[in-house]
């Protein structure tokens, strides 16, 4: 029996060590915890992230994550709980995340792997977009789309809708699902996210290669 347990333990260790990271913590502030299997530690800057990692932010805290395929970034705001999960299919990297409560900002590059965010009541598929996903303590979900397109599915009622940039969607525990134009977004929310996370700006990018091979990019933003 002891030998069997030892073998199982070693296999678990081996499997864990063989697992590859799926993302990286690039910025954070305040108190943020990382739960991995049953172990909870403070999340540190530069920590690699693995499947099924649970990130929890507390008061006046946030964490900024990027996936290894550079296909998407997530900004988890204060008092939020997020579970990460990914799946690789050939060269596509599908990211499925579960937002239990709190507020999340997503930014997804076009033609990268799918990104979907599940909440207690909703599944939102993010298609080359940026937007907020907010889940209250009851599980009611609000999706605020800034750019691009979200596909929203209410898991209670089975209702489905698409939400385009400039619109919001409410999906609640009663199965109701409706969209409406964006109301006044809290200015603090907008200040929290970087300007360059809006991909839909009119920007001309010119890439140059220096004589030593170093690459530089000039970005011209058109007003």
């Amino acid at each position: 029996m002891k030998h069997i347990l030892l073998i199982v333990f070693l296999l678990m260790i081996f499997s864990l060590s063989a697992e590859t990271p799926i993302g990286l913590t690039l910025r954070m502030t305040g108190e943020v915890n990382l739960q991995r299997i049953d172990e909870i530690n403070s999340l540190e800057l530069g920590d690699s992230l693995f499947n099924n990692d649970i990130i929890r932010t507390y008061e006046e805290s946030f964490a900024f994550l990027r996936f290894i395929d550079d296909g998407a970034t997530l900004r988890l705001f204060e008092n939020s709980i997020l579970t990460l999960d990914t799946d690789q299919d050939e060269d596509k990297f599908s990211k499925t995340n579960y937002l239990e409560v709190g507020r999340l900002f997503t930014n997804v590059r076009e033609n990268s792997g799918d990104l979907s965010v599940e909440t207690p009541t909703t599944v939102a598929s993010v298609k080359g977009t940026s937007g907020f996903i907010v889940v209250d303590a009851d599980g009611n979900t609000t999706i605020i789309v800034l750019t691009g397109l979200f596909e929203v599915f209410n898991t209670i009622s089975g209702n489905f809708t698409t939400v385009t940039g400039g619109n919001s969607c409410q999906s609640d525990v009663d199965g109701e699902l409706w969209t409406y134009p964006n109301e006044d977004i809290d200015p603090d929310w907008l200040e929290d996210i970087d300007e360059d996370e809006f991909e839909d700006k009119d920007i001309i990018k010119i890439e140059m290669i220096r004589e030593d091979g170093e690459r530089r990019t000039i970005e011209i933003e058109l007003e």
Partner: protein, 823 residues
């Protein structure tokens, strides 16, 4: 006693030779220092030019010309790219290295910056033999677009952690991650990074301000080497008042303290003597547009009102065409006029193209009172009890003016004079003159006030971009060793000269120089002249130096005190590089002869030959060095001709010294996990007195081995050293051979990228006839807690054991601390 005289004389001659050479070949220029900075490229390109740049940190506007000397590795000759003054618009000078062909392995290069005052190179030491070497990029290395930069926040605030992360997700299955290397500013920092496929993550907590350039290199499973672009991160400087100050500021501050306690038995020579000292240095520079200010402050615990100043306060202000120096300054008006002398006063220089006028006025010595001495009667001396005084020091004032006409590149002529005079009113009479207690008219001067005037003329011709320089310096001096009585009248002086008629009135010249019976020379001639000619020529990898000087017996220059008069000095030296810089040879001869005026009873000649070589066959081969040094000192005294045979027996000088050294070294990189450098050397010398007296005949030989070991992957360095030498006095066969041995071991470990480096240094010495021992233990650390700040401290314990006399044993404890901050 006579042995002491001979030894003392020998020491004086040797010191005089050293001082002559030192005064002739050292320069002491404080102003207009050019500071350079350069980061070599990671490699040179095969298919296109490689840009390189040199940053001038200070005074770039003084640059007359900037040159890049480069050659392919293996070529004997450097090619040159020049940038003229008219093409310099900023403090960053840009050059381009041509594409390197497939055959060559890269380039070697160095920079030369020329101003009106000096020439500065980068690297600063031996750039021709130790140029910067950059390899060509391996043709198999190709850039790959599949490196994904994870953190694109490339401008960081102060106190913000730096995260550099790269994902190789698109090619994760193609890359051999064990071959992955991460480079930061050209340095492999892979061991400090976390590699977890497909991620490479490097983190540095609160890095210091500056630029951080990263790139990643890896080998694919198909053998291809790939490389990422170079990404630059910039960490901003902290907000401080200096950033908002309208002037650019830079400098550094350093505090050093040394505490020493020595303890031993009551009979020990070193019983209970403690020495503590501290000093503080502050260098502060500021500039804005055309205005520059530089200051140097040095405060030391050795400063005392009863000694000459040890503290230094230096201020320099510069605007176009004008330099002003306040307080402490060491002007250089030439070898004979004014050099290597600190003055506390004011100095200035007006200059334009082809013309420069310099002037200085200050104190070279401050007045110091003597000490009171109570003299009591003794049975053997018939004195009444009384008080006397030791000699003091007069305040010495120096005035100098120098005019230079011409350009540094080309012909330049200079005229100047320096007057140095002691202030008679600065010292009470009791501190410089005493009266014989029994004879009132018997006066003895403890020290006398002096006056000195030196006129000088120099020329310098520079050709072929200063590869050929020839120059001359001529000076004449008038020196008065005692001006206490003032100038003599014309009649008095003619009477003193026994009827010689003078064409001038000495009293009318007393503002220029005090002329009385103490002046030297009274009749000017060759004896009060000094001249020097020199040649420096860089030709076909040879650095040739030839110089000849004669300094008359009566030549005195209080402004250049290290010149030895009544001497003739001839020096030839050559430094040559052969075999594509693999072999360097330094050889020369120096001959010093005194008694130029033939007034002495003997003429002493000192001759020194030296040759030193270094041979490095190839990068992965051992290096070899060898050298020889011969010197002779002799005078022309024939003992049998002297009246006092026994006295002349010991005045005869005929000494010879021969020394040879050999060395070999090699850097072993073949061992796993470690890099080891080994150096072996052997020295042998013989020092003998060739006269009949045979005062000494000493043989020495010594062996040294040094091993430096660094671990790969672990920042631990170990240095081991072992040396042993034997001294044998052959003129005294009964004397035993003295052995000297040293064993040393030093370990240091680098924590957190150099934030903290503790070290332990143990050295054990045995020496002397009875194998006395000295054990020393140093425990310390170097720390860099903040940007451009370092703290170095160590505790030093030493123990001396005398095997023959136990009461001479002693122990020492020392604590040393240095804090340095650059800003």
């Amino acid at each position: 006693m006579k042995n002491f005289k001979l030894t003392n004389y020998k020491f004086a001659v040797g010191l005089g030779i050293f001082l002559v050479c030192f005064s002739m070949f050292t320069t002491n220029s404080f102003a207009n220092e050019i500071i350079l900075s350069h980061i070599p490229p990671l490699y040179v390109n095969n298919d296109r030019q490689t840009p390189i740049s040199l940053t001038i940190i200070s005074r770039y506007e003084l640059i007359e010309k900037a040159s890049l000397y480069y050659r392919r590795i293996g070529d004997p000759t450097f090619l040159q790219i020049d940038i003229d003054r008219s093409e310099i618009f900023s403090n960053v000078l840009a050059f381009n290295l041509p594409p390197v062909d497939e055959i060559s392995s890269g380039y070697e290069y160095y920079f030369v910056i020329e101003t009106a005052e000096r020439t500065t190179t980068f690297p600063t030491r031996n750039p021709q033999t130790n140029p910067i070497r950059v390899r060509s990029k391996s043709p198999s290395v190709s850039f790959d677009q599949n490196f994904i930069l994870m953190n694109d926040e490339t401008v960081l605030q102060p106190n913000q952690d730096l995260i550099f992360a790269v994902s190789l997700f698109p090619i994760v299955k193609e890359v051999d991650f064990s071959s992955l290397r991460l480079f930061l500013n050209g340095v492999d920092v892979t061991r400090y990074a976390s590699v977890s496929p497909p991620l490479v993550v490097y983190k540095r907590d609160k890095p210091s301000s500056g630029n951080y350039n990263f790139y990643v290199r890896a080998i694919k499973k198909n053998g291809q080497t790939i490389e990422s672009p170079v990404w630059q991160y910039q960490v901003l400087e902290k907000e401080s008042f200096t950033r908002n100050f309208p002037f650019d500021m830079s400098g550094n501050a350093s505090l050093t303290t040394n505490l020493r306690d020595i303890s031993g038995s009551e009979e020990s020579v070193f019983s209970r003597t403690s020495r503590n000292d501290a000093n503080f240095r502050l260098n502060f520079n500021t500039r804005r547009n055309w205005f520059l200010m530089r200051s140097r402050l040095y405060l030391t615990s050795y400063e005392s009102s009863s000694k000459q100043p040890q503290n230094r306060y230096s201020f320099q202000f510069s605007i176009p065409h004008v330099d002003i120096h306040l307080l402490d300054y060491s002007p250089d008006y030439g070898s004979f006029l004014l050099s290597n002398k600190n003055l506390r006063g004011i100095a200035g220089r007006l200059y334009t193209a082809g013309l420069s006028l310099s002037a200085v006025y200050g104190q070279s010595a401050r007045a110091l009172d003597g000490k009171e001495i109570v003299v009591t009667e003794t049975p053997t001396m018939d004195f009444d009890d009384h008080i006397t005084y030791s000699k003091g020091t007069f305040q010495r004032n120096t005035t100098g003016i120098k005019l230079d006409i011409g350009e540094r590149e080309g012909l330049r002529i200079g005229f100047g004079f320096v007057k140095v005079k002691d202030d008679l009113d600065s010292l009470e009479e009791k501190y410089y003159r005493i009266v014989n207690q029994h004879e009132e008219n018997d006066l003895t001067f403890l020290t006398s006030p002096r006056d000195n005037l030196v006129l000088g003329f120099d020329t310098r011709l520079s050709l072929d971009n200063q590869r050929f320089i020839v120059g001359t310096e001529v000076a004449a001096s008038i020196y008065n060793s005692n001006i206490h009585e003032g100038a003599m009248s014309k009649e008095e002086l003619e009477d003193y000269l026994e009827g010689e008629s003078l064409p001038f009135d000495p009293e009318s010249l007393d503002k220029l120089i005090i002329i009385n019976q103490n002046v030297e020379p009274i009749i000017p001639g060759r004896d009060n002249l000094a001249f020097q000619v020199y040649l420096r020529w860089f030709l076909l990898n040879n650095m040739l130096n030839i110089s000849y000087s004669e300094i008359g017996a009566s030549f005195r220059s209080l402004g250049s005190p290290y010149t030895q008069n009544d001497a003739r000095v001839f020096t030839v030296s050559d430094y040559i590089n052969l075999l594509n810089n693999r072999l360097s040879i330094d050889a020369g001869v120096n001959i010093v002869t005194d008694n130029l005026s033939e007034q002495k009873s003997t003429t002493t000649t000192n001759t020194n030959w030296h040759i030193q070589s270094m041979f490095r066959p190839a990068a992965n081969f051992p290096y070899f060095r060898s050298g020889a040094n011969f010197s002779t000192s002799s005078n022309d005294l024939e003992p049998m001709e002297h009246d006092d045979y026994y006295e002349s027996y010991f005045l005869k000088l005929d000494q010879e010294m021969q020394a040879y050294n050999f060395g070999i070294g090699y850097r072993f990189e073949h061992f796993p996990h470690t890099v080891t450098s080994v150096d072996l050397s052997y020295d042998i010398s013989e020092d003998k007195d060739l006269t009949e007296a045979r005062v000494f005949d000493i043989s020495r030989d010594s062996y040294r081995i040094s091993i430096l070991n660094s671990l790969r992957g672990v920042p631990l360095t170990t240095r081991f050293r072992l040396s042993t030498s034997r001294h044998k006095e052959n003129s005294q066969p009964e004397s035993a051979t003295k052995n000297f041995s040293t064993f040393g071991l030093k370990n240091e470990y680098i924590f957190w990228n150099g934030f903290l480096t503790p070290y332990l240094d143990i050295s054990l010495h045995t020496f002397g006839e009875h194998n006395n021992t000295l054990s020393r233990y140093d425990l310390g650390f170097n720390m860099r807690p903040y940007a451009q700040t370092s703290i170095n401290t160590r505790i030093e314990l030493a123990s001396f054991k005398d095997k023959e006399f136990d009461d001479r044993d002693y122990n020492t404890f020392g604590w040393h601390l240095n804090i340095n901050k650059r800003f």
